[in-house]
């Protein structure tokens, strides 16, 4: 990979964002932060990130809305979107929207980095 990987984190919880930024910055990743769905969509369009970490429950546009908009936009639809969910999805409950993967909150650093790497590798 020639250039720095850019990861867009869309989450309204600044403390949580700080925690995962610390973890992500242990790798050669540039972290872009957006604090609500609307700002997230704007930054996705202007910054063209390599991967999006997306919170589900957010003010203005929620995670479902952001994921839907990203899928609709041809220039953004191929960006992997990893949903940050604070409810348990370990029981195989299907979700009503399309994302590449799920990362459960609270986020374990190991799990976060493993999933991010996996989806970045897929992009080549």
């Amino acid at each position: 990979m020639n250039r720095t990987v850019r990861i867009l984190v869309i989450d309204d919880d600044v403390d949580f964002v700080k925690a995962i930024t610390k973890v992500l910055q242990s790798r050669p990743y540039e972290v872009i932060v957006a604090h609500d769905g609307k700002e997230g969509l704007e930054k996705a369009r202007s910054e063209k990130p390599d991967l999006v970490l997306l919170d589900i429950l957010m003010p203005k546009v929620d995670g479902f809305g952001v994921a839907e908009q990203l899928k609709k936009d041809q220039t953004l639809s191929r960006i992997p979107v990893l949903a940050l969910t604070s409810f348990s999805d370990t029981y195989g409950q299907p979700f009503a929207f399309e994302v590449s993967d799920f990362i459960q909150k609270p986020v374990s650093p190991k799990d976060l980095l493993a999933k991010v790497e996996k989806h970045l590798e897929r992009l080549g």
Binding site: D13, D15, F64, T90, Q93, P106, P109
Partner: protein, 462 residues
């Protein structure tokens, strides 16, 4: 209106007869015909033709004829059920037939208002006499003080002395009126009842709307409270993990130990919040929305997978005995796994030697799921309290929330099944055995399944 038609025809007959009596024919208006014409009409029919003779014989014959006619008409009047009355222009009753006299008392020679209505003055407002003597026919109803109702047809009538009088036929219609009234009352009662039921239905549907709104309110409330309770813990935990794992600089063993203790407590708190909030969610019937048709063997296998590591760590065996053909039931895969994982991790927690066995027995009506262990077992005094909220066993040290079993039983019950515990396990004579059943009927599964789709999002957000 059938009765009216027959009534009308009978009254017409009556007026015809009354008229014939006085040697006149009255029909509707007033057509007067002379006596000879009338007699001529009846000659042939009554006593046979006169076949010659002198004047005295002719007179006798006429007299016989007249008497015959009179007797005949009197007979008719006497046997009439209707009352017939003739009232003069001075309002004095000139004639009453026996039926009229029976019903009102004989009042011949007395003024009609006095005799019939007990009033000194002529009936104000509804006396028909002035109009009738001038030639009008009136058909009307009158209610008497005692409640009797008469249908009266009053026609003009020239008495034998040619005085313009009023001939009235009285028919007692009290019974018919009562029936009519009863019918009206009945139909009123019917429409009242209908109205009442409609109102009741409206109230019920309002209640249903209220309940639905209440349910939506509970979902929103739980959704908000879950998020607000979990989010700070989630952020804290994520920060602590990041520190613990060295992403904010090197951590020594002592710091690591303290961080480990903190994160474990937060894990416990997060689990408690989930379990606590599961109870009202279960009670609000939200679980039903998750139910779909599912293959039960998959549920068991996934649950076993997630506890396998725990069993291996304690060197416990984990036996799984499933039906060859997977039973299909209607339920929530997520929640049933929650039940199985809870029973399996309890079994692993309370067992130091031997192992755990899971067995699924499928009968025609239900599934029977047994989780047995070779552990410490449950003291007899604890068995009845096992499924109570926040109950913790007296012989074990547990860091669980104390809600696992009570939630599991609730989940099974929402699925229409039962759950119970035995200790020692009847088959092995050691440890304990937890059993739950699930009904196999999937006929309601379709409707439940389709409802699940529309509410899936709201449940996911809780």
């Amino acid at each position: 209106m059938k009765p009216l038609t027959s009534r009308a025809s009978r009254l017409l007959m009556l007026s015809g007869m009354g008229a014939s009596l006085g040697g006149l024919l009255i029909s509707g208006g007033a057509i007067h015909l002379g006596l000879p014409v009338m007699l001529g009409l009846f000659v042939g029919t009554m006593v046979g033709p006169f076949t010659g003779g002198n004047e005295a014989e002719w007179a006798r014959h006429l007299e016989k004829l007249l008497k015959g006619e009179r007797d005949r008409f009197m007979g008719i009047l006497n046997s009439l059920e209707e009352g017939v009355i003739i009232i003069g222009p001075d309002r004095i009753i000139r004639f009453m037939n026996p039926s009229m006299a029976r019903q009102f008392g004989d009042g011949t020679g007395i003024r009609c208002h006095k005799h019939l209505h007990g009033m000194e003055e002529p009936c104000q407002g509804f006396c028909k006499l002035p109009d009738v003597v001038k030639g009008a026919t009136e058909r009307w109803e009158r209610r008497f003080a005692d409640g009797t109702v008469y249908e009266i047809v009053s026609s003009p009538f020239a008495d034998s002395d040619q005085t313009p009088c009023m001939l009235a036929a009285y028919r007692n219609v009290t019974r018919e009126k009562l029936i009519e009234l009863e019918l009206m009352e009945l139909s009123q009662i019917k429409s009242d009842l209908l109205l009442e039921k409609t109102r009741e239905l409206e109230l019920i549907s309002k209640d249903v709307d209220k309940l639905r709104e209440e349910k939506r309110r509970i979902i929103r409330f739980l959704s908000a409270i879950t998020h607000d309770l979990r989010a700070p813990l989630s952020a804290t935990q994520s920060c602590l993990w990041a520190i613990r794992d060295g992403y904010a600089g090197p951590v020594n063993d002592e710091q690591k130990d303290l961080l480990q203790r903190s994160t474990r407590r937060i894990d416990g708190l997060l689990a408690l919040i989930s379990d606590l909030l599961d109870i009202p969610r279960m009670e609000a019937g939200l679980l039903v929305q998750e139910m779909v048709e599912l293959s039960f063997n998959d549920v068991v296998e996934r649950s076993v997978d997630s506890v396998e590591r725990l069993a291996k760590e304690k060197h416990l065996t984990l036996n799984v005995d499933l039906p060859e053909v997977t039973p299909v039931i209607c339920g929530s895969s997520r929640r049933l796994q929650q039940v199985l994982i809870n029973l399996l991790s309890n079994a692993i927690n309370y067992t130091e030697q031997g192992g755990i066995s899971v067995r699924v027995i499928a009968t025609e009506d239900e599934l029977r799921v047994e989780v047995a262990d070779s552990g410490v077992g449950i003291p007899p005094q604890d068995l009845p309290k096992l499924f109570q909220d926040f109950f913790r066993g007296s012989n074990v040290k547990s860091d669980g929330t104390g809600l696992g079993l009570s939630l599991s039983r609730r989940i099974v019950e929402v699925h229409g099944g039962r759950m119970w515990a035995e200790s020692p396990c009847p088959e092995t004579g050691e440890g304990s055995k937890f059993t739950f059943t699930l009904p196999r009927k999937t006929d309601t599964g379709k409707t439940v399944g389709s409802r699940a789709a529309s509410d899936a999002v709201s449940e996911n957000q809780v």
